[in-house]
């Protein structure tokens, strides 16, 4: 599978139009239905390669797009979800500097 190709398992004649939010491989037990005892084996079956990880992130992003960004009568909610997410990420990036702000009152 080269960069930018469809997943190997995707077959237009079987699956219809491509959906970037869908996993086309063999479905495993959904994570919410995994028993505690089976958890280790379940994690062992996961593909942990970087490209599989990026694929999972991409599917998650598109699941979010379908649910919040793509509906016809969409409002401003998805923008604020993204904004809160971005602000959190940049807070974490800058926490090393920001934690010193609590000492400003002693200066």
């Amino acid at each position: 599978m080269a960069f930018g190709d469809y997943p190997k398992e995707y077959n237009p004649s079987v699956h219809g139009p491509y959906d970037p939010a869908r996993y086309y491989g063999k479905p495993d037990t959904p994570f919410s239905q995994v028993k505690i005892a089976e958890l280790g084996a379940w994690f062992g079956r996961r593909n942990k390669s970087p490209s599989a990880f990026m694929g999972a992130c991409s599917r998650a992003w598109w699941r979010w797009q379908h649910k919040y960004m793509q509906p016809k009568r969409v409002g401003i909610a998805p923008f604020f979800q993204l904004l809160v997410g971005s602000m959190t990420v940049f807070y974490v990036f800058n926490y090393g500097k920001l934690k010193h702000h609590r000492n400003y009152k002693y200066h």
Partner: protein, 225 residues
């Protein structure tokens, strides 16, 4: 009280000592509406409305001699600066357009390529721009000097205008926000009210400045052909 007033403009982060704050430059990509369905949704309709308006505006400014599709450069420039400016207003998100590092690396290559295009393809035309129509003969040498200087400082003014505007707004909000702890608690609502007004002003400035930089680059490019 602040130890350093300019710490909001510091791109460094303590994660692996990499300046991750610069990532906010491309953060706007997440906010752009994507085309997925054939029928556009509200975001797409709104975004297309803005882009079409800008396209028509820039097309008239560029004139008949312009290449087809050259408005796309300036529309992209506008959206890039717009997303950077607007996202930079939100707390903790780094404003990369408040650094000459970024703005000058946009404006200098843009201006330089326009100039080279003009010098190579329309040499006469470029020289004729150095003397405005109807200049008295005695003033001509001075006009050439003045016009040359005003042309050379263009990439600088483009970059500095945007950067200075972003820095000024952030500084004002930081300064005002930091008076909070020393302010009488009963009067804190005045401070919050002023902050809200300032925030509205900054949102307007973010949009206006991105428009200004796009329109000025359009005008500079229309002068070379």
């Amino acid at each position: 009280m602040m130890t350093n007033l300019f710490s909001v403009f510091d791109p460094t982060t303590n994660l692996l000592n990499i300046s991750f704050n610069w990532l906010s430059t491309i953060l706007g990509l997440l906010f752009l509406p994507y085309y997925f369905w054939l029928i556009p949704n509200r975001h797409m309709i709104f975004w297309n409305l803005i882009l079409n308006k800008l396209h028509n505006e820039f097309k008239t400014l560029l004139g008949k001699n312009s290449f087809n599709g050259s408005t796309f450069i300036f529309i992209s420039l506008f959206s890039f600066i717009l997303f950077n400016n607007l996202l930079g207003i939100f707390p903790y998100i780094f404003t990369s357009t408040s650094h000459l590092n970024l703005t000058l690396s946009i404006s200098l290559p843009l201006w330089l390529s326009f100039m080279f295009f003009g010098w190579i393809n329309n040499t006469q035309h470029m020289f004729s721009h150095l003397i405005p129509q109807g200049t008295p003969n005695i003033l001509m040498p001075f006009m050439v000097l003045i016009e040359t200087i005003s042309n050379i400082i263009r990439p600088g003014t483009l970059a500095v205008r945007l950067t200075a505007n972003m820095i000024a707004g952030h500084l004002l909000m930081t300064l005002l926000g930091n008076t909070g702890p020393n302010f009488p608690t009963i009067l804190i609502f005045i401070l919050i009210f002023i902050q809200i007004l300032l925030l509205i002003l900054e949102s307007a400035v973010a949009i206006i400045q991105s428009y200004v930089i796009a329109i000025l680059s359009t005008l500079y490019s229309s002068e070379v052909n």
